[in-house]
Amino acid sequence: MFGYVRPSKERLSQEEQDRFTSAYCGLCHTLQRRYGLAARMILNYDLTFLAILLDESDTCTYGCRRCIVHPLRKRPCGDASVALDLAADHSVILSWWQMQDGIADHGFWGGLKYRLASGLLRNAYEKARKAQPAFDENTRVLLEELAALERENCPSIDRVADTFARLLAGAAEAARDPIRKRVLQQMLYHLGRWIYLTDAADDLGKDLQTGNYNPLPLRFSVENEKLTEEGRQDLAGTMDRSVEMMAAAFELADFGVWTEIIRSVVYEGLYMVGNAVLNGTFHQRPAREKK
């Protein structure tokens, strides 16, 4: 996963910002508790959002803790919960298989960092696989399917994105309520589709230089290693449709204390990130905020 999914801060009260931090830090602490220190390296915003979506409890309790990364100031940190355990299991499985994909895609030197990370995560993965065998199998099969499509230079953006989308939608199986499960399947499908397309746009320049597979130039017009204005509009349009599908699904289930955070993601945050990625400004991070 890549770290593209973010709430838009302007829309959240301090309490909600703290709650979002509590999910992020809570997932980090859960990863360490269940899987050891090394598992913390996989933490990112996308996985945090997954943890939020999978949380079916009505309340969210958190205390304030220090940690290695934030030794000086205590931060809101979610208490141990079933939802965080579940999200940690899913996170480890997703990250493990992506590392295996990274090893397969790169040569000896290029794959070194993936092999190193994968070595550190091996024990954690074995444990997570036992906890979530169905999700593990689903993820493995779909990433293999994705790799095959990439090898054969698949020209359909929908078809390649579909494998990653179905992979994320697999996490919805954890939901108990059948209506909630349908809503989550739809949200996670389009989240996966959106992440895949966003990542393809983000990597476009690099992929064109290295000759790695990227579906965008096969579908949209490209000039000077960038999408043309027309291509950019077309890609943005289809990304918008996925975000709209997520928002429409979101309105059909009750997300309790997480409602405002998810709302700010599906009505604003994703559009902003998509816009920044397509403009090439995503990696120019704003100056560190001082509180």
């Binding site: 589709r193 349009g237 449709r241």
Partner: protein
Amino acid sequence: MRDPYQVLGVSNTATDEEIKKAYRNLARKYHPDNYHDNPLADLAQERMKEINEAYESIQNQRKGRTGSANGYGNTGAYNPYGGYTGYTGDARYQRIRAAITQGELNLAEELLNAITDHGGEWNFLKGAVCYRRGWLDEAKRYYETAVQMEPNNMEYRRALQMVDGSAGTYRPDGYGNIHTTGCGSNCSEMCLAWLCCSMFGGGGWIWCC
């Protein structure tokens, strides 16, 4: 039945005006326009029914009268939430439409692939299968072809509007009409600063592929 005030998200001391506003906002949210042919359209329709009944029940309580609901999304011959029930003279397409409505997308696709003459309806239904699957780019291309072949068909035009962005969708109060292409002048820098990425002083430890 749930408490009608709870359904509308207002207290039972709310004024008529507040109730009307809450009802209108919810009706806008679950309006058929936002869920036309959506795989979750049945849930939205259910929600709309609940909202209409709650609004009607409050009005009746307050005015001491009885009457029938007259809101959006009532069941009738035409279902505004879609459902591929459009008239067709061709029995093959009738069967495909039924399959799509029931969510049997693989069957619908098989039946479509067995047909060799690709007219407007074929392209429309091919697009519909894609749309239900979430293959929104291909859905758009099939719908475009269908509309080109039969420009006067309202069903095809309606479907195309859902995937080309011209339909316009619900946004909650306070949220602007932002898109991936932007939200006005000076957008990207301002937008980026708004995101929570600065919350933790830079991203996570991300392993990108």
